[in-house]
Amino acid sequence: MVKRTEQRIKVLVTKVGLDGHDRGIKVVASMLKEAGMEVLYLGMYQTPESIVRAAIDEDVDVIGLSYLSGEHLIFTPKIVEEMKKNGLEDILLIAGGTFPAEDIPTMEKMGIDKVFRAGTLTDEFVQYIVGNLKR
């Protein structure tokens, strides 16, 4: 069973670009909801601009990105830059999906706080979020 959180945590989960693999992120959204979080689901075909605008309007605590088509190194810098431009440094930025191990330090250097790969259990990412909020 997933441990639940009492704290109000609002998480934006989304995909960027054309990548159509949305099954995983939908599951993550469901599991975060079960863990007691308020999950803003933006789905597919978002741009760095549309993601950041939603994060601002909705005052989210966390942004979760899903990458399954090898687009992570292309879009991550664009999203991080857009977040910086808008002063969103206090939002926890996490990513999940399919990546080679070699890319994880690269993504972290680019500004992702934590990278989760396929095969991660719910408790792991829930506990990470609860313990690492930036505000």
Partner: protein, 564 residues
């Protein structure tokens, strides 16, 4: 459950033998099949619900083909060892095809990238970042020429994986290149995925509106029936459906329901079931539960034979034969302790071969990390070759046939699948189940169920919830990258082509395509001509989309350049 927890703490420090002792007494934790069916300790003749061998099972090569579509199965011909290839530009992909062919691959198999499947040209603002990332990018006839360069199209069998409405363009591009190369279309062998309906559930909904999916999907089928008699023109993709998290019975049921959408349309167009059913193929998943997967394949064969014969009145036994390719289950592979994936794939491939597969793609072990590296690709091919040449599993048709357990499981999956198909029928048919998003809800609840099974330890996966070790820092056989240069060149080439082509010739071709689409004609001939006039993927599809009342651009970003 308690065994699971004990096994989780894999203490290995010196002097502590508890883990070993506990491991000695370990038992399985679940007595369910992967799909969740309860399984008994042993199966006996009493469990054979199917009594009538002749009617329900029968020898391989005879109706209802439960045991295989050929009497001698692999003795006649081994399955096609067809590894999926698709990376960057057509030239990059061509190089990998050549490499695999040199190492004993026996079928060409190329997969389109996400931009192509969405129906976007490489120079589309949404495409430029993602050209070639997940497959080969084909925007114009030049790309198809580069992909097929020096390959004798009349001698090879080519599997073209384009699933969305863009499959119509792929077919047109392939035909255009073949005609320009002087090949006789009637001699071309191969297949095209062409299953836009299922692709709505793989993130390509903007490119696959339901009515256009049926229209363009069926146009390809109708065209091929008349012009490419040896071509398999749809591969109903049950694999992708399974990857959404559904179980084995749902995989068969949903796949058949989608197939029936196309069959009904072709019959509506006046074609006879025996004219086209022999050209239908299926793309099946093989997951990790070996017996269940074999049973699923056997059940699917029996169900298809009966469906086509009893519901659609087919007379030709070829119509009733369930032909299928297998893609080992990508979603069963994990990035943790990744070399273990080789073992998983081997078991899954074994199930496919025991099930009597016609064509097989083994996932490379690096599937959950990146596109296959050359070494990983070769290793996956070697898995197939070991099965084919070392294990002896090819000697006998349907070696598991007659197993009390497998026959029971075959019946079970058939029953469950038929129940689901009946449910869909009661909802008003598959189109209605899609429109009302009933199908979406099935996928969603099943996918969540799968995650919970892992979270709760009801299903064990080594490296996920049992026998975990620290995360690896590197990928064992290296990482495949898509060349940025190739992608950039792809975009530049398309821009140059659009500048330099003969505009009047293109205009005439687009006009004909528009007219044909407007008059309800089959659009493939006009698409072939437009391709020869250097019309591009986005332009062909966009033109047809507009005629059908959709935005020219599925992403609604650009306007048609042909607004005259």
């Amino acid at each position: 459950m308690s065994q699971t927890n004990e096994a989780k703490t894999e203490k290995t420090h010196e002097g502590d033998w508890d883990a070993y002792i506990k491991a000695y007494y370990e038992k399985p934790v679940s007595f369910k099949s992967w799909s969740g069916y309860d399984v008994k300790e042993i199966y006996t003749p009493d469990d054979r619900s199917v009594e009538d061998y002749g009617k329900n099972i029968s020898d391989a090569g005879t109706y209802p083909f439960t045991r295989g579509i050929h009497a001698n199965m692999f003795r006649g011909r081994l399955w096609t060892k067809r590894e999926v290839v698709g990376i960057g530009s057509p030239a990059d992909t061509h190089a990998r095809l050549k490499y695999l062919a040199e190492h004993g691959g026996s079928g060409l198999n190329t997969i389109a990238d996400v931009t192509y499947e969405m129906g976007l040209d490489a120079d589309h603002p949404w495409a430029v970042n993602e050209v070639g990332l997940t497959g080969v990018n084909i925007t114009s006839i030049r790309d198809m020429e580069a992909l097929t360069k020096d390959i004798p199209l009349d001698k090879v069998s080519w599997s073209l994986i384009t699933a969305s409405t863009a499959a119509s363009v792929t077919m047109a591009q392939y035909v255009a290149v073949a005609e320009s190369g002087g090949y006789n279309l009637a001699g071309l062998r191969g297949s095209i995925q062409n299953d836009p309906i299922h692709f709505r559930y793989c993130g390509f909904r903007p490119a696959c509106p339901l009515d256009l999916s049926i229209k363009l999907g069926s146009d390809v089928m109708e065209y091929c029936t008349k012009r490419l008699p040896k071509w398999y023109y749809t591969t109903v993709n049950m694999y992708d459906l399974r990857e959404q998290g559904i179980n084995a019975s749902q995989e068969v049921a949903f796949g058949f329901c989608i197939a029936m959408c196309y069959i009904d349309e072709l019959i509506r167009r006046g074609l006879d079931i025996d004219e086209f059913a022999p050209r239908f193929t299926f793309y099946v998943s093989c997951h990790i539960d070996i017996f269940e997967e074999v049973a699923k394949i056997r059940a699917a064969r029996r169900m298809w034979a009966r469906l086509v014969k009893e519901k659609y009145g087919a007379k030709d036994p070829k119509s009733m034969q369930f032909r299928f390719a297998v893609h080992t289950a990508g979603c069963s592979l994990i990035p943790q302790q990744p070399l273990n994936n080789i073992v998983r794939v081997a078991y899954e491939a074994l199930a496919a071969v025991l099930g009597g597969v016609q064509s097989l793609h083994c996932c490379s072990y690096d599937e959950p990390m990146c596109l296959p590296t050359e070494k990983a690709h070769l290793q996956a091919l070697r898995t197939q070759q070991i099965l084919a040449y070392e294990t002896g599993v090819t000697n006998v048709a349907d070696p598991l046939g007659g197993s009390y357990y497998v026959e029971n499981l075959t019946d079970r999956i058939e029953d469950e699948s038929l129940k689901i198909m009946k449910q869909v029928e009661e909802l008003g048919g598959m189109e209605e189940a899609i429109r009302t998003e009933w199908l979406d809800r099935q996928f969603e609840s099943e996918a969540v169920k799968r995650q919970k099974e892992l979270d709760n330890g009801d299903k064990l996966v080594v490296g996920v919830n049992i026998f975990n070790t620290e995360q690896e820092k590197t990928t064992p056989l290296g990482v495949q990258r898509v060349s940025e240069q190739s992608a950039k060149k792809q975009v530049e080439d398309v821009k140059e082509l659009k500048r330099s082509r003969d505009k009047d010739k293109l205009k005439d071709a687009i006009k004909r395509l528009r007219d044909d689409a407007g008059e309800g004609k089959n659009v493939i001939p006009a698409m072939v001509d437009t391709t020869k006039a250097f019309g591009t993927t986005g332009e062909l599809l966009g033109t047809v989309r507009e005629v059908f009342g959709y935005s020219y651009d599925p992403m609604e970003t650009i306007e048609s350049p042909f607004n005259w």
